[in-house]
Symmetry: C2
Subunit: 415 residues, 2 copies
C-alpha cells in the first residue's frame, strides 16, 4: 500500500497536467470511463459482493445494506452520470470579467481548476465515479477516501477508471484512492494542506464535524440540513399543508427535507388540524410546543433538543410564533444554513424573510426539497454547501473552480 | 477583561443587525468614524506614545518602531481611508444572477455579508480602522486580534469607533477587540468556528502558517509573495531590465515585490549585464546559478533555499532556464501563488505562461507590483489571497461577501 504522503504528493505533481487538458479530450475520457464501467460490470458486481458479504456478517442494518448494494442498473446509472457530466459545458477557461486600467493594463479574471480535491465519504460506492467525474471535468485531481464498508467496490471502480486514464495517456494519479480506511489515516489525510487544496466531506454530521475540527486543508461543509418552513399569518392554508407534506415526506433521508415548522399563532387553528390529518397518512410524529399540543392531541411535547435536530425520519418539530420576527429569530438560531421557506401571500413578509433568514437557499411558497444541483439546472452536484465561503448551496461544476487574474501590459511599471 | 467565548458569542449575536443596515446609514457611520478619529487625535497619539515607550524600552528595531508610530498625518490617512470606503459602492444586496426554472421557480443569487470576520494582525495600528471599515461596509461584524506592540493604540482606536457605533444606535459589538494578546488566546480564538465565519491573518509567514495549521475557522491565507519574473528568449531586454528594476526595488518590504528571476539562456548575455549595472544603483545582492555567476562576477551562488525565499530585502535570486517549460516548472515549484510575470514579445509564449503558471495574478510585460486592490480599481483591499478558495488575489469589498439563493414560488412541490 502506497504511503499517504507519497499518494498526496503524486496527485499534486500531476495537477498541472490535467489543468490544461482540452475539453474535448476530457469529455472523450469521461465517455470511455462510462463505457468501461458498463463493460466491466461483472468485476464491479463481484467486488461489491465481497463488501455485501462482510456487511451481512457484521449485521449491517438493511437500509445501509441497500445503499451499499450495486446492481447492473445502478452501475448503468453511474455510467449515465459520467455521460451527463461529459455533456455539460466546461467552466474552465471562462473569462468571468475583463477590465482596463487607466495605465493601459488589461485585466482578465479567468476560471481555473482548484488543484487537488480530497473527498471523504461514507458508504455509497456510486459517489466514487460521481466525484471523479465532477473533478475530472473541472480539471482537478482527486483523492478519494471512502468508507471501509465499500472498500472492494470503490477499489474496483477506481481501478477501472485509472485504466481508462492510462490508456488515454493521462497520469492515473489524477484519480487516487486511499486504501487504508482507518480513522488514523483519515486524520493524517486532513493535515495534507501542502498538497491538497480543498477537502469535501460527504456524510453525516459526525464526519463533517470531525473534518471541520481537524483539517488544515480548507473545507467545504456540506449536507446537514435542519430545514424550516414558516407558515405566516397571511399564508394560504392549503398551499402550506401541501408544501409541508411534500417537504417532510417526499423523501425523508435527505438534507433538504423539512425537519421543523414554525406557525404564526393567528393561523395555527386554520392550518394545524388539516396538517395533522395529512401527516397522519405517513405516520409522521409531531413534537410541538404547548399550543401545538393543545390543537394536535397526538403530538409529543418538544424539547429544546428537538428544535436543533435533523431527524432524517418521519418526525417533525413544530413551534408557534407571535410574529414573523420571532419566527426568523428562531430559524436563525436553530438552522444549519441549508434551506428555509416561508408560506405567505404578503409580499413584505416574503421580502423580510428572504432578506433576514441566514441560509444558502431561502424560499417563498415552495418546498425546501428543490435545493439540489439538478433542480437548480446545474446538471450535477458534488454536494450542498452550508457554509459561507467560496460556494453556498448546490455546488455544480463552476463551484469546483477558482480563478486567476491574467494581466496584459506593454512595459508598465509602478511609479 | 471579557471572556473570549463571550466576546465571540456577542459578535455572532449582533451579526444580523448589521447585515440589514441600509447603505446610507453605513456610509454616514463611516464618515462619523473618520471625523471622530481626527477629532480625538490627541487621545490616539497619547495611547500610541505608551506603545512607543514600551517599544523603545524593549529595543524594537527602528524599522518596526516606524511602522508602529502614529502621527497626526497618519491618523488623517486612517480617517481618509474610512471616507474612501464610505464612497465605494455597497456590494451587499446585489443580484449576481437570476434564472427561471421550467417549474416556474425564479431563482436569484444575491450577495450577502459573510457574518463574523476575525482578523489577526501584527504591528501596524492603521489596520485596526481599515479592517473595521471594510468589514462594516460589507455588513460583517469584526473581531480584531492585534499584536501586543500596538495594544494601547488599537485599544483607543477601537474605543473611539465603538463610541460612534453606540451613538448611532448600533450595537458596539459589531466591532470588538481581543485585549489578551497572548499566543494561548490567539490559539483559542482560532477554534471559535461556532461563532466566527472567516479568519484572515495579516502578517508574516510564521503567523499565517500558525493560523493555517491551528484554525478550525475557514481561513484566507494572505500576503506571502515569492514573486518571479521570467525573461523569455524573445523579450525586449530594455523592457525586461526596466520592469525587473521596478518590481525589485520600488518598494522592497511588500508581498508583490519581485524576489526571483528566471532568464532564458539564449537571452542572458543580452539582459544580465545591463540588469546587473542597473541593480547596482540600489546595491541589490544577486544570488545566481553557475551561468549567472559566470556573467555577473559580483553575484553569490544561490542555494536551493534561495529559490524558495521571500527576501523582502535588496536581494534577488536568479536562475537560467533552457526553455519556457523549464521556467514554468521552476516557478510552479517555488512560488507562493501570488504574482508572476513573463517578459516576451512572443504571443504564444505569453499565452502559455498565462495558462500554465499557477498564481493569483499572472502578468505579461508588466511589473508584479500592480497586484493591489487600488491598482486593480477595487478602491480598497483587506489583503492579497494566495489560496484557491473563495477569493484569489486582491480582496476588495466584494470578496468580503458571500451569497444566498432567494427562490420565488407559487406553491411548487417536488414530484
Amino acid at each position: 500500500m502506497i504511503n499517504l504522503e507519497t499518494l498526496c504528493k503524486n496527485a499534486a505533481a500531476v495537477k498541472y497536467e490535467i489543468q490544461v487538458l482540452p475539453t474535448e479530450k476530457k469529455n472523450r475520457v469521461l465517455e470511455q470511463c462510462a463505457l468501461a464501467l458498463v463493460t466491466r460490470r461483472e468485476d464491479i458486481l463481484n467486488a461489491n459482493g465481497l463488501d455485501m458479504e462482510r456487511a451481512a456478517e457484521k449485521g449491517m442494518p438493511q437500509g445501509l445494506q441497500d445503499r451499499l448494494r450495486l446492481t447492473a442498473q445502478r452501475i448503468e446509472a453511474m455510467a449515465e452520470g459520467l455521460r451527463q457530466i461529459a455533456a455539460l459545458p466546461d467552466p474552465v477557461g471562462e473569462v468571468m470579467e475583463r477590465f482596463d486600467r487607466p495605465n493601459g493594463l488589461r485585466i482578465e479574471k479567468c476560471r481555473v481548476p482548484i488543484g487537488v480535491i480530497g473527498i471523504i465519504y461514507e458508504a455509497r460506492p456510486n459517489v466514487t465515479a460521481d466525484a471523479f467525474g465532477l473533478c475530472f471535468k473541472t480539471g482537478n485531481a482527486v483523492i478519494l477516501k471512502g468508507g471501509s464498508d465499500a472498500f472492494y467496490s470503490n477499489q474496483k471502480i477506481v481501478e477501472i477508471l485509472r485504466d481508462v486514464l492510462g490508456k488515454n495517456g493521462i497520469s492515473a494519479d489524477v484519480l487516487s484512492m486511499i486504501e487504508d480506511t482507518s480513522r488514523e489515516t483519515a486524520a493524517e489525510f486532513m493535515k495534507m494542506h501542502k498538497y491538497v487544496n480543498l477537502l469535501i466531506p460527504r456524510g453525516g454530521a459526525g464526519l463533517i464535524r470531525s473534518v471541520v475540527e481537524n483539517s488544515t486543508i480548507p473545507v467545504i461543509e456540506t449536507g446537514t440540513g435542519n430545514c424550516h418552513i414558516y407558515v405566516d399569518d397571511e399564508a394560504d392554508p392549503d398551499m402550506a399543508v401541501n408544501i409541508i407534506f411534500n417537504a417532510k415526506t417526499q423523501r425523508i433521508g435527505v438534507c433538504n427535507a423539512c425537519e421543523s415548522l414554525v406557525v404564526h399563532k393567528d393561523i395555527k387553528d386554520a392550518v394545524l388540524p388539516k396538517l395533522g390529518e395529512k401527516l397522519r397518512e405517513k405516520q409522521v410524529e409531531i413534537r410541538g410546543d404547548e399550543q401545538v399540543c393543545g390543537i394536535l392531541s397526538e403530538s409529543i411535547p418538544a424539547t429544546e433538543e428537538d428544535y436543533g435536530k435533523e431527524y432524517l425520519d418521519y418526525i417533525l418539530s413544530v413551534k408557534t410564533a407571535g410574529s414573523i420576527e420571532e419566527a426568523i429569530a428562531h430559524i436563525n438560531r436553530y438552522n444549519t444554513g441549508h434551506s428555509e421557506a416561508i408560506i405567505t401571500e404578503n409580499k413584505e413578509h416574503a421580502e423580510q424573510f428572504l432578506r433576514e433568514v441566514d441560509a444558502a437557499c431561502v424560499y417563498v411558497n415552495a418546498s425546501t426539497r428543490f435545493t439540489d444541483g439538478f433542480e437548480f439546472g446545474f446538471g450535477a452536484e458534488i454536494g450542498i454547501s452550508t457554509q459561507m465561503l467560496h460556494a453556498r448551496g448546490p455546488m455544480g461544476l463552476k463551484e469546483l473552480t477558482s480563478y486567476k487574474y491574467q494581466i496584459y501590459g506593454n512595459g508598465q511599471i509602478r511609479e
